[in-house]
Every structure is written in C-alpha cells, then in structure tokens.
C-alpha cells in the first residue's frame, strides 16, 4: 500500500515559533513548507493548486498577527481560491471573538499559542490527517478535536506515529 505523505504549510512571522512548530512536525515525521506572512502563504497555495505542481496542502497552520498580510486575510484569500484544505489558526489572541473571527474568515479550528496545548493539538490534527476518510465531515471532526479535553501527554514521536500509521495501513 502507498504511504501517504502529509504536506503542511506553516504560516508564522516569528522565527522562534517557526523553530518550535518545525520540531513538533518533524517529531511526527512531517516536513512543512513555511511562509513568513499571509501574502507568502497565499502565493504558495496558489502555486501548488494552480501550477500543476504537488497539489493542495493537507493542512495549513497560520498565525494571526503578521506583517504584509495577516492570518484572517490570508485565510479568506485561500478560501476564495476554492481551496478546502483544513486551516488551523494558532494565535495568542484567544478570546471567543478572536476564535469566531478566524472561523468566519474560513478557518476550521483554532488553538491558542500561549500554552503547551498547540503541540498536543497539532499532534491531534496530524493524527486526524492519517485516518482514512478524514476529509469526510472535516470541519466537524476538527472542531470535535478542538473542544475535547486535553490529557497530560507527551507529543507524538516519529516512532509512535509510525505505529499508528501502520495500523491504518499507511506506513
């Protein structure tokens, strides 16, 4: 069976956050493309879906406050292209109004940046991406995961994720 390669676009202007997110994704065996602002993210998505290249991303993780173009506008422009890739907002502005603004812009899920939770939530989303037919009822599944209580656990290691993938015949 073909091994499914997960492709993620990480949109974040602060290097320290990119370094941490990159390490979390690598620990799960995922390599990410990176964009330092919303405009760059829109360009990368457009190149993939319109250029006959590798196709759409499986997942987009985006910050809110960025120079040039913020995460809300980038999400709107990506959705305007007809792209249905799950978009997860990762922001330190986590009031209900902040969450709603991102959802209204077209994001599927939101996770606050100021706690350890993003590591767990990103792992959950990655796990979700590995489950067959995960794109059915995508939004419902993502939101269900977003609202689930987060247990105290270690991030997924490459080995653990490989074990899970093998259970689903994906590795």
């Amino acid at each position: 069976m073909d091994r499914r390669r997960i492709t993620v676009l990480l949109v974040e202007d602060e290097e320290i956050h990119r370094v941490v997110a990159r390490a979390v994704l690598r620990a799960a065996g995922v390599e990410a493309d990176e964009a330092e602002n919303g405009a760059e993210a829109v360009r990368r998505v457009r190149e993939r879906v319109g250029g006959g290249g590798a196709g759409a991303y499986d997942l987009i993780l985006t910050d809110k406050q960025m120079p040039v173009m913020d995460g809300h506008e980038a999400t709107r422009q990506i959705r305007a292209m007809g792209v249905t890739t799950p978009i997860v907002a990762v922001s330190s502005d986590s009031l209900p109004s902040d969450v709603q603004a991102f959802i209204a812009a077209g994001a599927d899920d939101f996770t606050p940046k100021v706690t350890i939770h993003p590591i767990h939530r990103i792992n959950r989303v990655l796990l979700l991406m590995c489950v067959p037919n995960a794109h059915d009822s995508r939004s419902d599944r993502l939101l269900m995961h977003a609202h689930a209580p987060i247990p105290c656990m270690q991030p997924l290691t490459k080995e653990k994720l490989g074990h899970i993938l093998s259970k689903f015949g994906l590795a």
Partner: protein
C-alpha cells in the same frame, strides 16, 4: 570535570529552574522533543532565539517609555510579542511579568509601565543567566563525551 559530574550539575540546574517556576511545562515539552532525537541542539536554539528576541524587545519598550509622549499601542505590541516568545520557550516568570504589564499600558500609566518593565527585565535577566549556564554545561558535556 568528568562528564558524570557535569550532568549532575546540569540536572540540578534544570530541577532548580522548574522548582522555582522559572520555566514551565512548555520547556519540558521542548526537552522531550530534543530527547526524542529528531532535533539535536533544539532547546539551545530556541533559548538563544528567545534571548535575542527579549533583549531587542525590552530595549524597544524602554525607548518607547523614554519618549515625552508614550505610544501605548506600540508598547502593547512589543509586550505581546515578548509574551509569545517567552511562552514558546516556557520562560514562565517572564510570561507572567508580561501579563502583569498589560494593566499598565491599558491604563496608559507611564509610571506603571516603567515598574512593569523593571520586573520583566529582572525576570528576563534571571532566566537568561540560567539558560546561558545550561548551554555552557551542555557544550562542556558534548566536548568531554567520547566521539
């Protein structure tokens, strides 16, 4: 000094940082990622980025508060950025000092902001010194370890 003794010293330092609340679970998560073997030198890289970010941001805030008319929106943006950076590395006391800062720039109190900045700077200096000691010990352990 023998590697074993250096490791004891490093573990004591890290335990002290946790015990005093200087760092939180986020820092543990970063360590677990490094120990997972996918990102060697990763904690030192994040700590170095944090030190560079915080040095620059604290200087920027001090410059803003030194103006006759303070732009509190810019102070807000800088404190917000420092809170994010400190959260990323798990520098809990710096993060809490940034949260404490908020009430003063929202009230547009220059005196309050100066006091809050002094606390942020103090907490940052403490954790920076510990991070630098941690990185020095790690380098010494690396240098003494058999290749």
């Amino acid at each position: 000094m023998a590697v074993a003794a250096l490791k004891v010293q490093l573990n004591a330092l890290l335990s002290n940082m946790f015990a005093t609340g200087m760092v939180d679970e986020q820092f543990q998560q970063l360590q677990s990622l490094e120990e997972g073997g996918t990102a060697s030198g990763f904690v030192a890289e994040v700590a170095t980025l944090f030190i560079e970010d915080a040095d620059r941001i604290i200087a920027d805030i001090a410059a803003l508060l030194d103006q006759p008319v303070v732009d509190f929106d810019k102070v807000d943006a800088h404190v917000h950025q420092l809170k994010g950076s400190s959260s990323s590395v798990g520098a809990q006391k710096v993060k809490l000092a940034c949260m404490h800062f908020r009430q003063f720039y929202e009230a547009k109190s220059k005196e309050g902001c100066l006091m809050a900045l002094a606390l942020v700077r103090s907490e940052f200096c403490d954790v920076r010194n510990k991070f630098q000691t941690m990185m020095q010990l790690e380098q010494q352990i690396e240098a003494c370890s058999p290749k």
